[in-house]
Amino acid sequence: MTIAVGQRAPEFHLPSLDGPMTALSDYRGRSVVLVFLRHLG
């Protein structure tokens, strides 16, 4: 089940390359751009 525009964004907790974790809720009260990156060559 994936979300759609107009729905609440699912929470996540993920590690960073440099160590610290982030959660979507860390950005509460701010607009947020979430960009998914894939590696190619």
């Binding site: 994936t2 979300i3 759609a4 525009v5 107009g6 729905q7 609440r8 964004a9 699912p10 996540f12 993920l14 590690p15 960073s16 390359l17 440099d18 610290p20 982030t22 979507l24 809720s25 950005y27 509460r28 009260g29 701010r30 607009s31 947020v32 751009v33 979430l34 960009v35 998914f36 990156l37 894939r38 590696h39 190619l40 060559g41």
Partner: protein, 154 residues
Amino acid sequence: MNAIAQKYAPQDVGSIFLYTHEAHPGEYCPHLTTMEQKFTHARDLRDKLGVTRPIYLDVLDGACHRAYGSMPNMSWIFSQSGIAIYKSDWSDSHSVANAIQYFLEVIQRRRSGERMAGFRVERLDYRIQNREAFFQGLARNGPKAVREYREAFP
């Protein structure tokens, strides 16, 4: 997208760059089987793209990517209240910048007293397509990546 993140940060727009997986695995850049590989690929991607903001990593099985729709290079924008207000199946800086600018204007209009209600829009945005660079990337991943892509999209 890095430039977009820097441009709008002073206007309190956060940006999260999330590495998912190898786009087209090949002999030189194989399918990821460990988080250590994932960290290595993400560092390589950061260096190639020149991303200066933190890059976060999805778990090995891509659970976060799936939760958000699994499209190859997605972008989402969430409102200040955590509601998804923009979804794109391709990350294009012009499209994202247009959307951010629009939503910042909505915030300003609301602050100035306009009563506004959301509605759904569907439209097609356009991105630059560079097939030569794409196939060069496939070749760097290895012959398997090139072969599988040509078989899937003859």
